[in-house]
């Protein structure tokens, strides 16, 4: 169906090709997952399938890409519209019309299909993706998961033979992501569409993948069976790490597979983990105390009377579905956002108790630093150096911001444009800017969005450094695995109220649906992270087992 014949792609001005001599041959009805770190050419590979690379992006393509016998060298992307459906990361960016039904029909209008065909296909697609109730709704009133399902539906109505999905869930909350991935796997089974997908949440899709394309980062691509390739791949979910550690063969890819192997491992592990899931760096004292916080957005009560105490050196994960009030709470604590009631007291450097909402913005950011969801909103200079210099001018001795940045992510060139950095580097830069004035409390809103496993590990290390330095850290996140590795304490919010607050192991294992993978596999043993399991196994070896 899709054939890559010695394909090399070089972007203009780049010294090295992104992809080098890639050979691929994908059959019909296959679900193929593209894995690799950020910047290894996943999007380039996907874009090459319908000719967006290089027709739209520029660059040089050597070799030949054909889909169903059609060559991308002689056909522009629009002539692949009947063969290849493309769905991007941000569904809203691709919408041309404004209601669900019209969006589904748009592609078919371009293909000049007859009215009767269009009517039936729209009805079919509405049912297939469970969108029938939303047909007349405006696209902008939908939730993220619904929008992404509409985008997939809009690609499907043209009856393409191939569906290309570039990180379809990276902008969605877990429920939305679940919806979308369920829809995709159903499509593969029901319609036999060939699906090529790049995805960060490997743990959710790997069980369904027929083959993996692993981009190693040097331009080469390896294709093979998931269980085989994942033995050596570097960017893998916890379940694969556990499988490797316990030397399970074949490598389990789903929790179900892993649990079949698990009894033997559980027998070997001690009843209680011998190490904590992370080293707790909590200090005595109080960094921030909030009382009865209320935030209203028009008629909606976003935060309904939340009280909160943060200790220095403690990392708190703030969890809950989209719209449960996490962001509103963080913004209210920082003082820049709306706050309709309640009080916040933060201990300043001189020991005074100040309310960040009642002091000037310049003072507030010395008390509480916030990294917003779209971190790049804070960047407006042309170079990294200029951003750092600006951060120093805003109240730090020259060079502070650079030192902070290098401690987190060394080696970001000063001359780079901030917008050209990877998501992880951008996050580090914004964090460095906010930390230059050494606030005692650091809040991060959804920092793990769009980060790969490596970048997440980097972020976890950074947060640990902050805790070591005695900062109180709050991370709003959907990512259970991330929360399990970084958080001492977990707070769960729903409808503006706190519904659970306690030590991470207790809260995260309370309900199996929201537990991290390791906990699901080893339940009822109270293990959260891979490090705990490997420490226990090492101990066992030392005992001469």
């Amino acid at each position: 169906m899709i054939r890559f014949d010695r394909v090399s792609i070089t972007y203009e001005g780049a010294p090295e090709p992104v992809l080098r001599e890639v050979d691929l041959d994908l059959g019909e009805g296959e679900l193929c997952l593209v894995v690799g770190h950020t910047g290894t050419g996943k999007s380039t590979l996907l874009g090459a399938i319908n000719g967006l690379v290089p027709h739209f992006t520029g660059g040089t393509l050597d070799g030949r890409v054909t889909v169903h016998g059609r060559d991308t060298a002689t056909h522009p992307p629009r002539e692949f519209a009947d063969l290849v459906g493309v769905v991007g990361q941000d569904p809203v960016a691709g919408f041309v019309t404004d209601t669900v039904e019209e969006e589904l029909a748009y592609g078919m209008e371009q293909l000049a299909l007859g009215p009767a065909v269009m009517r039936t296909r729209v009805e079919e697609t509405l049912d297939l993706l469970g969108l029938a109730d939303l047909r007349h709704r405006g696209l902008h009133e939908l939730s993220g998961g619904q929008q992404q399902r509409v985008a997939i539906g809009a690609a499907l109505t043209a009856h393409p033979r191939v569906l290309v999905l570039d990180e379809p869930t990276s902008a969605l909350d877990p429920v939305g992501a679940e919806d979308v991935l369920a829809a995709i796997t159903r499509l593969v089974h029901d319609l036999g569409v060939t699906v090529v997908m790049a995805e960060h949440r490997l743990e959710r899709v790997i069980p369904y993948a027929d083959r993996l394309i692993w981009l190693r980062g040097d331009g080469s691509a390896t294709i093979g069976q998931p269980a085989v390739l994942l033995q050596e791949a570097t960017s893998v979910p916890p379940i694969v790490h556990l499988g490797r550690l316990a030397k399970w063969n074949p490598l389990p890819l789903s929790v179900r597979d892993a649990r079949r192997h698990a009894p033997e491992l559980r027998r070997r592990l001690p009843e209680q983990a011998i190490t904590a899931h992370r080293q707790d760096r909590t200090q005595a004292g109080e960094a921030l105390a909030a009382k009865d916080i209320i935030v209203r957005h028009g008629p909606v009560v976003a935060v309904a009377g939340v009280g909160l105490q943060l200790k220095p050196g403690q990392i708190t994960a703030l969890m809950g579905r989209n719209g449960s009030g996490k962001s509103s709470l963080l913004w209210a604590l920082q003082g820049s956002g709306r706050r309709d009631g309640g009080a916040v007291a933060v201990v300043a450097a001189d020991g005074q108790h100040l309310d960040p909402g009642k002091v000037k913005a310049a003072v507030a950011r010395r008390l509480v630093g916030l990294v917003p969801q779209t971190a790049s909103d804070l960047l407006y200079h042309d170079t990294v150096d200029a951003e750092l210099a600006q951060a120093d001018r805003d109240g730090a001795t020259p060079g502070t911001a650079r030192t902070v940045l290098d401690r987190m992510v060394p080696g970001i060139a000063g001359g780079d444009h901030p917008r050209d950095l990877s998501a992880g580097q951008q996050l580090a830069l914004v964090l460095a800017i906010q930390l230059a004035v050494t606030p005692g409390v650091v809040l991060l809103d959804e920092p793990t969005r769009g980060l790969d496993y490596q970048a997440k590990a980097g972020l976890a290390a950074t947060l640990d450094q902050l805790a070591q330095a005695g900062r109180a850290v709050v991370v709003a996140t959907h990512d259970v695995e991330f929360a399990a590795t970084v958080a001492d304490r977990v707070i769960v919010m729903a409808e503006g109220s706190v519904i659970a607050d306690g030590p991470a192991p207790t809260v995260l294992t309370a309900s199996p649906a929201f537990a991290p993978q390791i906990a699901k596999i080893l339940s009822p043993l109270p293990y959260l992270t891979l490090a705990q399991v490997s420490a226990a196994l090492r101990e066992e070896k030392d005992d001469g087992w």
């Binding site: 691709g94 790049s376 804070l378 407006y380 917008r419």
Partner: protein, 385 residues
Amino acid sequence: MVAASALLPRALHPVAWWVWAICLAAAASQTSNPLLLALIFGVLGLVVTARRTDAPWARAFKYYLIMALIVIAIRVVFRSVFGTGITAQDTILFRLPRLDMPDWYAGIQIGGPVSLQATLAATIDGMRLACLLCCIGAANSLANPKRALKVLPGALYELGVAVTVALSVAPQLVESVQRVARARRLRAGKSRGLRALRAIALPVLHDALDRSLRLAAAMDSRGYGRTGTASARSRRLTGTLMLAGMAGLCVGVYGLLDPGTPRAMGLAGFAAGTALSVAGLYVGGRRVSRSRYRPDPWRWPEWTVAGCGLLTAFVFYLGTGYDPATLNPGLYPLQWPTLPLIPAAAILVSATAAFASPPPPAPPRSTPPAQRRSPPAATVQGASK
């Protein structure tokens, strides 16, 4: 045979509403009889209340009405302040303090006596303008502007897409600005001044540019412009025909509306302009092969609505069967205007649009009426879904 299914709730073809509204506007422009103008206002109000939807654009009529009142007020105030052309027969209402202008500025006078006749003339003139404004407002609130763009001929398809995209991008841009301005406080940046402008504009523009590139890529991969290969010759031909057609239309409309120009010249210009434009659109549209999903049908209610409008406009233009002078009653001597029967009847015919058109479709989220009437058990079931 009249099919009753044409009257089931649905949106009337936008062109029908536009023809109806423009014809009423044309009729209003022909008269300065306050009774007739008031009648047109009444018809507009009736039809808009009866047939508009809940959509945001449909709520715009109120703003057109406010604008109409402002137009009338401005007209009256200016006429009173720059009170020129007061004759001996005028009834003076009151006198404003008069500003003496230098000799070289003679001819314009500020202040002075304000006469009843001048004020009335200004009010009626304002009413006429306001009436035109409300006709456009009525069309805008009755016809979904996006569906109206869809009926553009193939040659103007790209223009329609550009407008649609622009309309949906505007709210995103506003959201972007709000988000960045809020984030700016986190760096304790100033939110006013040139520096703040840079700090806010740069991320916002970057966002917008990113978004438009992604949109372009998405549209390309979805087949936009698949068959858009026009030869240079056919493009030139289309351009020439369209330009000539537009010029012809301008001359024609001016000729028809300006009483000083011979009517024949206006008609000829109008006809030639229309013919040229249609030819241009045809030539330009030939290269486009694209189908339309659920186009609005044109059935008898569309004919009726457009027909009523046209009938009204014709009655006002032809001026037969009644005394044309009654359309523009004089203010000297001051008298109560008479209501000419035939023009009044013509305007009332236009009001049938409120009943001849199908009711607008129910808003998507509310329960359909059939379910509301069902027994309580079924309602509970419906609610629990």
